[in-house]
């Protein structure tokens, strides 16, 4: 694609949004993994020899975007596995990002980390670079579950890593966990509860509890198709969901998004919330998506295609879409209904000319009776049961 044909995603609209809540977020995708997990369909390459070229290309992409006058208040370095980079490389990369873009003081700077490659040196490097939030892909504290998921680490390593991060001085720690693995329902459920309790013992500031989801073209999808494993049905999934929320809320966590729990409002993922609030974001690296409030564009998934475009001085954009009001409205609904914040009814009315309270009066009345939604302070807010069916709610 011709460089000139790609509309500038961050220009006007990123500058438009100067409300503190609406400052855009910056995402960097590190597309390398030492090994691919059974369930993952995120883009990653296992060819680590491409790393030096990738870093050079990423810098070029940063340069192509650095003229933007917008200010970012979150940075999220994900993957892939950012921790495949050596401490020094990682430290320098983060330094470059912070120089290339204007980042607010006090910005949330997150790095995704895996338990199998964290060392005190690496953690110290991240601290020095200014990283103030770590998200650790623990997934489970049960070795058998970890083996099934194709993770490289064992439960003991995850525990050690968490201690290490605390020792390194990180006081905003997120832990990712996965539930809904195959196995006899009672056993699988008990294993999940044990994992959850283990995680709670570390008092992480943030917990993401994802239901294991079958994505197409993953080894997991193959296993399911061949009938070698069976994942829990919808009713059991609902039980996991609701029991997990019970336990975490009791432990003082705020269930602020379908899969996300924060130890108080202060520790919600500010970066991820931008996705759910339709706040603009700039994504760099292969397969990264950018959104300017109206247009979404995405980079090549393949590292080689990404490298090729940047070598030619072109933005490595694979394609883009301009969202119609109808599409924006649908996104606003299904994203908003994922969150405890809900949907700002006045905002929907202003942007899309639709007064949900009037036009969906009958169904909203029914959904309120069924305790799936509430109307609070001008927001349409899903209850916990409502969050569990957010995709259906969005289609009212």
């Amino acid at each position: 694609m011709d460089a000139g044909a790609i509309p500038n995603p961050t220009g006007d609209i990123l500058q438009r949004s100067q409300e503190p809540d609406e400052l855009p977020g910056l995402y960097i995708h590190i597309p390398f993994c030492l090994r691919k997990c059974v369930y993952c369909d995120f883009y990653s390459s296992t060819d680590l020899t491409l790393i030096p070229n990738f870093l050079a290309a990423l810098r070029r992409e940063m340069n192509l975007n650095k003229d933007f006058k917008s200010v970012f208040d979150t940075v999220y370095i994900g993957g892939g596995t950012p921790s495949v980079l050596t401490p020094a490389v990682l430290e320098r990369l983060i330094g470059d990002i912070l120089t290339a873009f204007t980042i607010t003081p006090g910005a949330e700077i997150t790095v995704e980390a895996n338990p199998d490659d964290m060392t005190p040196e690496r953690l110290a490097a991240l601290r020095r670079a200014g990283v103030n939030r770590l998200n650790i892909g623990c997934q489970s504290f049960d070795d058998e579950s970890l083996a099934f998921l194709g993770r490289r680490h064992r439960a003991r390593q995850a525990v050690e890593t968490i201690h290490m991060t605390r020792d390194a001085g990180f006081n905003n720690l997120g832990i990712d966990l996965i539930y809904g693995l195959p196995g006899p329902p009672g056993d699988a459920f008990a294993i999940w509860l044990a994992t959850l309790r283990t995680a709670l013992a570390f008092h992480p500031e943030h917990l993401s509890c994802y239901q294991l989801t079958v994505e197409t073209d993953t080894p997991l999808a193959d296993l399911c198709r061949k009938g070698e494993i069976a994942l829990p049905d919808r009713d059991i999934q609902a039980r996991y969901f609701s029991r997990t929320a019970d336990i975490l809320e009791e432990a003082g966590y705020l269930h602020y998004e379908v899969s996300s729990f924060a130890l108080g409002n202060r520790f919600h993922s500010r970066h991820n919330s931008k996705y759910w609030n339709h706040t603009p974001y700039l994504g760099l690296g292969p397969a990264a998506h950018s959104f300017d409030g109206r247009q979404r564009r995405w980079n090549h998934r393949s590292v080689t295609a990404y490298l090729k475009d940047l070598a030619a001085g072109k933005p490595p954009v694979a394609d883009s879409e301009l969202l119609s009001d109808e599409q924006l409205r649908l996104e606003a609904l299904f994203l908003g209904l994922r969150t405890r914040r809900g949907i700002d009814l006045a905002d929907v009315k202003r942007r899309y000319g639709e007064d949900l309270l009037v036009e969906k009066e009958k169904i909203l009345k029914k959904l309120k009776e069924e305790k799936l939604v509430e109307i609070r302070n001008g927001f349409l807010v899903p209850t916990r049961a409502g969050m569990a069916v957010a995709d259906s709610l969005a289609l009212i």
């Binding site: 989801t213 759910w276 974001y281 990264a288 998506h289 995405w298 599409q327 994203l335 029914k366 569990a388």
Partner: protein, 598 residues
């Protein structure tokens, strides 16, 4: 006239009628091989797929016989279902003879016999033809034996062929010439032409298919349709050689078409007689019957925006189906629609399928109803074929429903099962005859409502296809009726309301609830489905809610993908009907009105 033969092919379903027609057409060289499309007479997709013939057609085959003379062999195709018995009888009335086709493997079947009797009623010459002699399972000897013993025909007269392989075709053509008598009639007499079909042509208006019995007709003549005395100027006459072929005139004995500026097919009635305005014949040809719809149902578009399209499509459809009637209707739950009348349930199925297929419409049908008669306190008598117009129960002093006389032919061994079925369907006053040894003729008087519901399918199933069934409306009889409503989460779904006999109410209510339960997908909340008469709930079932429907992760790159999925779901939802807060798929409406033969 001596060089004309008018004939039909009659057979049990799947005994190879269309294939034989194709072979005759091919053999006489009407079409070259390249243009040839299998089963050329069935030119509607539905006919081809279902293997049934809905609209009859005619084709003239030029044939040079072994006697050295040229003949015009007019093959008149006939529809093959009880809903269309009248049309069959009009087609047969246009012939002098029939080929009675029998499958060499299956032998004589129910429709073989029923069709034979129809042909006999019209005094037609019958040529038995044993088809599919190439099948490994063919048992020609047994079929010859059956021709003699079961059909009572001279078994020496039979012919053998394989329509599939194209063997025995010449012998059949020769037999048509030699055995079927040429038509009688007098070209000098006043015109008397029998209408056996009509088709709408977008450019020419209605094309009338007819058989000339007496007199002749040519372009410029003023013709009169005897039933309604309407007159038209003839624009063109001709014969069918697959396509219309214009001719100077049509004379006694011939089969052909007349184009006379008739705007819609419904202005022309099958079975009516055409004569000349200037020199009319004294009496119409015998056998005319006005075809009246006996089954009524409403049609609604799934998306209310499609109402106008539906209106236009019905108008177009009606051009080609004289027996279909409709008028505007509206439903509280389903919006604007049309109330339609049909000859029977198969006719209803065909109309629905053609609207969906040819006009690309998604429609919902209400539960079919017959026309009931109520006498009210104020002395008035009203007819109601739409549950929405069911009178205030307190005002009714007498409820009556239409009864039919059902005539069934079946092998004696199925008698017990069929009698049980008839009694279950509230049949009364039975008579039993044995026209041939081993075969029974069973006559029952039954409420029409029971017959339209799922009688025919079950009859076929208990007689394993060996039974044939025909019926006539006889009268109205008093019955205890009630209006059964179906409620989904407390909202009445008026398309599912039905007028039922009180005895049957609970069973019908339960069946409707169960069917809906199978078809309505689980939703975010529990759905209660109830059958009720007045305020009293007589059946109920519930569909539990699903409690999980959200993707676990949704970040930057997932949003577009997820939105596309939801857009797709949203489109699917638009094809469902919202009743109250519940999305009901089209299949649910259909399921309620389907029979339960499985």
């Amino acid at each position: 006239m001596n060089n004309i033969r008018n004939f039909s092919i009659i057979a049990h379903i799947d005994h190879g009628k269309s294939t034989l027609a194709d072979r005759l057409i091919q053999y006489t060289g009407v079409v070259n091989a390249r243009d040839f499309q299998d089963q050329i007479l069935d030119n509607m997709d539905i006919e081809r797929e279902r293997g049934i013939t809905i609209k009859s057609q005619a084709i003239s085959l030029p044939y040079q016989a072994k006697d050295g003379r040229s003949y015009a062999l007019n093959l008149i195709d006939t529809p093959g279902h009880v809903d269309f018995t009248y049309e069959v009888s009009r087609s047969l009335a246009s012939c002098e003879g029939v080929l009675l086709l029998i499958d060499a493997a299956q032998g004589v079947q129910a429709q073989t016999l029923a069709n034979l009797y129809l042909a006999m009623e019209h005094d037609l010459t019958i040529v038995p033809v044993i088809n599919k002699i190439d099948l490994p399972s063919a048992d020609v000897e047994r079929v010859i034996e059956q021709i003699d013993s079961e059909l009572g025909l001279d078994s020496d007269t039979h012919l053998k062929c394989s329509a599939k392989e194209g063997t025995g075709i010449e012998e059949i053509l020769e037999a048509i010439v030699a055995r079927i008598p040429p038509p009688k009639g007098d070209a000098e007499e006043p015109l008397a032409a029998l209408i056996f079909d009509a088709k709408y042509d977008a450019f020419r208006g209605t094309v009338i298919y007819c058989r000339i019995f007496n007199g002749q007709v040519k372009a410029g003549d003023i013709i009169r349709l005897m039933y309604n005395s309407a007159t038209y100027r003839v624009e063109e006459v001709g014969r069918f050689i697959l396509r219309r072929e214009k001719r100077e005139s049509l004379a006694a004995g011939e089969v052909g078409y007349i184009i006379a500026g008739v705007k819609t097919v419904s202005d022309v009635r099958t079975g009516d007689t055409i004569t000349l305005e200037s020199r009319p014949c004294a009496n119409p040809l015998p056998g005319f019957r006005e075809v009246k719809p006996v089954v009524f149902a409403s049609i609604y578009p799934i998306a209310s925006d499609d109402y106008e399209d539906l209106a236009v499509s019905l108008e177009k459809y009606k051009l080609n189906d004289a027996s279909f009637v409709y008028e505007k209707d509206s439903s509280a739950a389903l919006g604007q629609g049309f109330r339609c009348g049909f000859l029977g349930l198969l006719h209803l199925d065909i109309v629905q399928e053609r609207l969906e297929r040819e006009y690309d419409l998604s429609i919902i049908l209400s539960v079919p109803s017959v026309r009931y008669r109520f006498t009210l306190k104020d002395g008035t008598m009203i007819y109601v074929d739409n549950p929405a117009h069911y009178p205030e129960p307190m005002s009714i002093i007498k409820s009556e429903e239409p009864y039919i006389r059902a005539t069934m032919m079946l092998p004696e061994r199925y008698l017990g099962a069929v009698m049980k079925l008839c009694m279950e369907k509230r049949g009364v006053n039975s008579t039993l005859n044995y026209p041939n040894p081993g075969r029974a003729e069973l006559i029952y008087e039954m409420p029409l409502a029971e017959v339209i519901f799922d009688f025919y399918d079950r009859f076929k199933s208990v007689t394993q296809g060996y039974g044939s069934f025909d019926y006539d409306l006889i009268d109205y009889r008093e019955g205890s009726l009630a209006l059964l409503d179906i409620l989904v989460n407390g909202e009445k779904v008026d398309a599912l309301s039905q007028i039922v006999h009180r005895e049957r109410a609970r069973a019908r209510g339960l069946q409707a609830c169960e069917r809906l339960k199978e078809e309505i997908p689980r939703q975010m909340f529990k759905i209660a489905i109830q059958g009720a008469i007045g305020g009293e709930v007589i059946s109920r079932t519930t569909i539990s809610a699903f409690r999980k429907d959200v993707i676990a992760k949704c970040y930057g790159g997932d949003i577009s993908r997820k939105r596309k999925l939801l857009e797709k779901q949203k489109k699917g939802k638009k094809r469902m009907k919202m009743i109250g807060n519940v999305s009901i798929p089209q299949s649910a409406f259909l399921a309620v009105l389907k029979s339960d033969t499985e």
